[in-house]
Symmetry: C4
Subunit: 265 residues, 4 copies
Amino acid sequence: MTVIKLIGKKPRLKNPILIEGLPGVGNIGRVAVGYLIEELKAKKFAELHSEHFFPFVMLHENYHIHLLKNEFYYWKAKKRGQQDIIFLIGDCQALSPNGHYEVIEKILDFVQGFGTKEIITIGGLATGELEEEPQTLGAVTDKELLKKYRGFNVKFNAGEKVGYIVGAAGLLLGLGKERGMKGTCLLGETSGFPIVTDPKSAEVVLKSLTKILQVKVDMSKLDQRVKEMEHFIKKVESLQRKALMEITKEEKAPVKGKEQLRYIG
Amino acid sequence: MTVIKLIGKKPRLKNPILIEGLPGVGNIGRVAVGYLIEELKAKKFAELHSEHFFPFVMLHENYHIHLLKNEFYYWKAKKRGQQDIIFLIGDCQALSPNGHYEVIEKILDFVQGFGTKEIITIGGLATGELEEEPQTLGAVTDKELLKKYRGFNVKFNAGEKVGYIVGAAGLLLGLGKERGMKGTCLLGETSGFPIVTDPKSAEVVLKSLTKILQVKVDMSKLDQRVKEMEHFIKKVESLQRKALMEITKEEKAPVKGKEQLRYIG
Amino acid sequence: MTVIKLIGKKPRLKNPILIEGLPGVGNIGRVAVGYLIEELKAKKFAELHSEHFFPFVMLHENYHIHLLKNEFYYWKAKKRGQQDIIFLIGDCQALSPNGHYEVIEKILDFVQGFGTKEIITIGGLATGELEEEPQTLGAVTDKELLKKYRGFNVKFNAGEKVGYIVGAAGLLLGLGKERGMKGTCLLGETSGFPIVTDPKSAEVVLKSLTKILQVKVDMSKLDQRVKEMEHFIKKVESLQRKALMEITKEEKAPVKGKEQLRYIG
Amino acid sequence: MTVIKLIGKKPRLKNPILIEGLPGVGNIGRVAVGYLIEELKAKKFAELHSEHFFPFVMLHENYHIHLLKNEFYYWKAKKRGQQDIIFLIGDCQALSPNGHYEVIEKILDFVQGFGTKEIITIGGLATGELEEEPQTLGAVTDKELLKKYRGFNVKFNAGEKVGYIVGAAGLLLGLGKERGMKGTCLLGETSGFPIVTDPKSAEVVLKSLTKILQVKVDMSKLDQRVKEMEHFIKKVESLQRKALMEITKEEKAPVKGKEQLRYIG
């Protein structure tokens, strides 16, 4: 009951890297990857819906009804040094713990069919403080990647600040590694309380990401685009807040001290 | 473990439109569709029960035990302009998020077997205020329907007031669209706090619905019928209240301001 | 993952009536049916365990570990007017709503294999008051049974006092009816707050039950036996309390007035 | 969606005894079995991951991402009186009740393939008091084991102090017995509030365990090792606290008196 549906013809891609930007803390991933999709004019080619999402439909433009979904876009390398890319964005993540595992496995099955061997996930790290100069923190499933990406303004010390990565940003990498895929998580520092979209942090992560992907993107329209997407983002925020409460609800009682206030998604 | 059982012979229907009126906010759908079934003398032909309902049986008439169920009725077009109809009413909706998806898919499988190509769901929109002159709001999965139904006192601006449609009223349309079925949701404005049956709002929606279906119904007995159904409705209300709490429980904590107080079902 | 395991040879039974006495409100069923099993020297022939039970094992006699289970006993008719009986007792009921449905369907599959055509379930009706002279209330799935059992000190007006029967006592009858089995629920009135075993109410129900089954049982040892079983019963009570909280947790918030305080199990 | 993956070649083992030390109350099992694995230089040969674990990945050494997992190690008997051993340790236990059953059945399938006929699980018994001289309490699934292990400083009166054993420490024995495996649970007394790793209690249990297994282990490095593992243990504690809250959450409300404060895991 988690279904991925191709839209149009199956694209031919060469070992595309998967870039995930589902809603999460600060919507860092959703904003950064959403903007990159627009700027690169990536093409939508598949949709995922799942019984593990909220039993809701969304209302757009006053009257239009949409099933909650995740979306796949592709972009083909234009020049040397670049690589084909599959982007994953969407309205929400799974609601239940086992739902997370099931949706992520379906996504991995799907991208494996295109030859994906590497994954980069984008998330936010809630620091509980206003971040004047947010940084991109990183973590990897393979030591080799450390050397490869260290140069791109990524500080690979996320583990000093948090103990876990929650949801798709973490599981895609952990379960991907079981299939031999290498993985990197890029986390933008963000206040995280209350959970609000943080375009500033998204921009910092996006800068690291575009360097890694060797693509050029005009950042000047990011703020403008976030404003235009405000209505949609508010809905996603509301969904994400609910989902986060669902999977972190057991954490509420024994939270003590500053370290526990930090989380990642 | 969600089973639909035919009662008697399978009826022959010609592309019947599905009209859903399961319990929800204000029981708008349950009352409007229940009344229409009686007035049109529609015939019951199938029952659904599911492991995703409450693990309860209901007691009727002091001593009689009934499994919780949804019921299918049909009505055949009598003259030009009308169409065959399948009505869906019942005691309750599914309890868990994935239960919702599973029950709805079963219902869609079932009506697809009769050639259903269009669905209208009826729900309530809880405004948190006493509604002196409740209106019928609408939302669609297909722009074409907007033109078709705009004339029938339906204001297609539901999206201005709420972001989601919860449960069967939403998912039947969202998942139906994936199968190529067109869908409309008609929502009656109702106070919604506390969750009580609102016959006034149900009547307003019923007026729009009968115009859409091109059937004539004597509205004068609606109040009387609601009174007669009071005992049954109280039980349905109690079930519905529990189910709504179940699927919206994660919404409680961060509710702020008026917009979030509105919900749909 | 719900398994019923035969112990020894499969008994030959002739259309045995199923008598259920799983833990519930006041442990009426557990005590009444447990006592009947001992007095009739019924023979244990099968055990059920399920992933839908608590992820616990019980400790008996200081050092002995037992998986949570339900147990089947049989008794063969000794003279005219009697019938073969399958008794169902156990440590607990399922924990989740869909778990209830799955365990009950497994039980029905199992007894159907022995030709069961009738079911009697025993439960307690929590009145919230100290009951000086508790009565046996009844409800049926088939009007015919009303006439048959009305004579045996059963008041068939349970529906005046409660709206639902929760758990096995209800679902065995509701789902059994779907298979053409007739069913009766006998409910002993009991205070229900706090949930404590009520041997007095169990005795009243047991008197009705023995008349229905046309068996004679010496009631004088019931109090004594309840005392002897005290240690076991305390554990069952604790489990049952947890299970009841699990399936009725969504009921807590909107409870108002006396009627809602009553429940059945 | 619970997968056990062999690492390297399948080891040849002769009826290995399974020793379980997953995280639980006081982390008695995790510490005792983890230390034994190191001291005996047992060899890792399999990993388990499951959709029933938290939808998290862990961060180690600042930048390294790991899927939550359980791990299997083996050790081959060196001399007469010893036996081959499979050790089971890990980051966490399952999150949901049915998840527990499913993961445990998978583990039993796996070790049964190696000829396992006996299981010893290690847990903590939370007494709610500071334990100056914690003892090893025991419980068994087979009376025979009582005689066999009574000599090794194990007091087989756990049932006097608690009614249940929660999670893997209990279910491995209860479900194992259904497959004809004999089982013993060794429980270290520990305060249990707040849930903190208790190396003192772990040492007491480890002394009993090494006598049972007839292996010699230098205990002097235990404190040192616990300190070295501190960072890892803190994460495991945090996970375990969450899991324990998940499966015991329904216990909170009606807890009264001292007896109910005790639990086992």
